[in-house]
């Protein structure tokens, strides 16, 4: 018997039992649909996290100084010279020394964070000013007591007036405001809006500590990130004589850790969703066993007029495959349209359709058809024709 004829018979039998066939498919539809939705949500969140993280700059390298096991230190001048010696690899490097302080205008005050840094900071972190100017090298070289302030600070202590040219006090010392940072958050105070930036040379004096606790560096391109980390580590090891005195990290490493986590998340979610696929498979086996019993006489007739075991087995297996295949296709439609209309509509996470996972879940649904269809089909194929013909 040709495959196409077995296929036609299977279609006929499915169509003549529409409601039952649909209910049987439902398990597979839900299974495949939920795998696709689960993977879509997981990969959508991954995409959204990754894109916001890489917006921070994947060329970024952070250096944290713990000072553990060492009494030496790296100065701003040393690290700046190192950068200019390696400018083809490291584009920029900026010291960071932050502390919390109360800042005051004539009659208003606010507690905020004070960051001492250099002009390169603006390039590394894509920081811009909406008014006035950012730090310049001269401010650092001449220990200028000037400040660039965030909008939250400006609104609080200058109450709507332009702060440019005004004076404010930080830890009792007088500073002149030269710029206002571009607002980053809408309405809510974010840490990037709630801060004051001053020259690093002034900050170390203010804190009465020459130690710079951290630096941020920027590699010339994504390709030189690894090399930058290597030479920075070598340079700092030479100074501190101790690998534990500092830590060099970069965003790419963070991203790759994140990718590991999210791909695990994807597999876990898909795994949970595929349990419903297996349950659907058991449903198919159940219905097919009923169907074999109901059709005992038909099987007897087919065998009497010349059907071999293989013919009967193929017929029932193809029925199972057509049911799971159709269920799989409907599941894909349900899954993809849910992602498109619900997830895409709510705009919580971006719409992501994973073709490999869609194909995989379809493949698994066919596999389930074979696995769970085999037992009932085999039972049908092995019926004794005499007994089957006598079955009422």
């Amino acid at each position: 018997m040709k495959f196409i004829q077995a296929y036609k018979m299977a279609i006929k039998s499915i169509v003549s039992n529409k409601v039952r066939s649909f209910l049987t498919m439902l398990g597979v539809i839900i299974g495949v649909g939920s795998v696709i939705i689960a993977v879509g949500v997981a990969q959508g969140s991954t995409a959204s996290i990754t894109s916001s993280l890489s917006g921070l700059g994947s060329n970024l390298i952070n250096i944290n100084i713990t000072g553990r096991g060492s009494n030496r230190n790296v100065t701003y001048a040393e690290i700046k010279k190192f950068q200019s010696d390696n400018s083809t690899i490291i584009a920029n490097i900026a010291p960071q020394s932050s502390s919390n302080a109360t800042v005051k205008s004539d009659n208003l005050s606010r507690s905020t964070s004070v960051l001492g840094t250099s002009p390169e900071y603006a390039d590394i972190n894509s920081t811009t000013v909406q008014e006035g100017r950012f730090l310049i090298q001269l401010d650092i070289d001449y220990n200028q007591k000037i400040a660039v302030i965030g909008t939250a600070v400006a609104n609080d202590i200058f109450k709507g007036q332009s702060p440019i040219g005004k004076t404010m006090k930080i830890m009792g010392q007088q500073f002149k405001v030269v710029g206002v940072l571009t607002q980053t958050a809408d309405g809510v105070d974010s840490s990037t809006d709630d801060r004051v930036i001053i020259p690093i040379s002034v900050a170390t004096r203010l804190n009465k500590s020459a130690t710079i606790k951290s630096f941020s560096a920027q590699a010339t391109s994504a390709d030189t990130v690894d090399k930058s980390v290597t030479i920075l580590t070598a340079f700092l090891t030479k100074i501190y004589k101790n690998r534990n005195a500092f830590r060099v990290t970069n965003m790419a490493a963070v991203l790759s850790t994140l990718n590991t986590i999210t791909s695990t998340l994807t597999v876990v979610l898909a795994g949970i969703a595929s349990i419903s696929l297996v349950v659907g498979g058991i449903g198919i086996m159940n219905i097919m066993l009923v169907s074999v019993t109901e059709r005992t006489r038909e099987i007897g007739v087919r065998k009497a007029i010349g059907a071999k075991k293989g013919n009967i087995l193929t017929q029932f297996l193809i029925e199972a495959l057509v049911v799971t295949g159709l269920g799989g296709i409907m599941g894909i439609i349900v899954g993809v349209s849910t992602i498109h209309f619900v997830i895409g509509g709510l705009k919580i996470v971006p719409e992501v359709y994973s073709i490999p996972w869609i194909l995989l879940s379809f493949g698994i649904s066919l596999l389930i058809g074979v696995v769970f269809g085999m037992y009932p089909a085999n039972k049908a194929a092995n019926l004794n024709p005499i007994d089957a013909l006598a079955y009422e």
Binding site: R302, G306, K308, N311
Partner: protein, 225 residues
């Protein structure tokens, strides 16, 4: 064409052994019209199962069309049934979801006959039983007599050497029963070998040879004149 030698069938049920057929010898030639008659429990159904290659004997030999059947495996038996035996059942046994034409095509489908040819041959077979106009009807849309005629067409379509009719009129009223018997007689006159299995002596009287069976043994074998 059918040669049965010392054929026995013994069923084992738990510890009991039931001898359904006891060392039967039988010869049936081509173009014969034989009735096998016996009450229920006589071994008549067992003999029919053997003749139809639905089962194999416990011992002895059965040759159909020159081929030894008694040692064959299931799938080979299915092939023999497909090519060499045409079954006509008491309850017609048509597949309810297929049309008359598709029912008649089915044995050819299992033979692997090409679609177009199968359809052509099935239509010819239906024409033989004068049902060509109803070929697209389902069994449920046909009367009992018509259903049995479809079943006869299905048995004929493979042009088997033997037609095996098991109480073919049992589910029909007497008038349509006579019609069906007339078809069988006509087929015999065209050269088909027919074996009719029945418990009804009047029906058996229509055949040219009557074999009586009782308690698993042949008690009478006579040619009608």
């Amino acid at each position: 064409m059918i040669q049965i030698t010392d054929m026995s069938k013994i069923y084992t049920m738990g510890e009991n052994k039931v001898t359904a057929l006891n060392r039967i010898n039988l010869h049936i030639s081509l173009h014969e019209f034989v009735a096998i008659v016996g009450p229920s429990g006589s071994g008549k159904s067992t003999l029919m199962n053997m003749l139809g290659c639905l089962d194999v004997p416990t011992s002895g030999s059965y040759k159909l069309d020159g081929q030894e059947i008694s040692k064959l495996k299931d799938d080979r038996l299915a092939e023999i049934r497909n090519f060499k035996v045409g079954f006509i059942f008491q309850k017609f046994n048509l597949l309810p979801k297929l049309s008359a034409l598709e029912n008649v095509e089915l044995p050819l489908v299992y033979q692997g006959v090409h679609n177009k040819e199968a359809k052509q041959r099935a239509m010819e077979a239906l024409a033989t039983v004068s049902l060509k106009e109803r070929m697209h009807h389902r069994p449920s849309e046909l009367s009992g007599g018509q259903q049995q005629r479809v079943a006869i067409a299905r048995a004929l379509v493979t042009r088997p050497p033997v037609l095996l009719a098991d109480e073919p009129t049992g589910a029909l009223d007497s008038k349509t029963g006579i019609e069906v018997m007339n078809i069988l007689k006509e087929l015999n006159s065209k050269g088909n070998t027919i074996i009719l299995i029945t418990h009804d002596n009047d029906l058996a009287a229509e055949a040219k040879r009557i074999i009586r069976i009782s308690d698993g043994e042949i008690t009478e074998d006579k040619e009608m004149v």
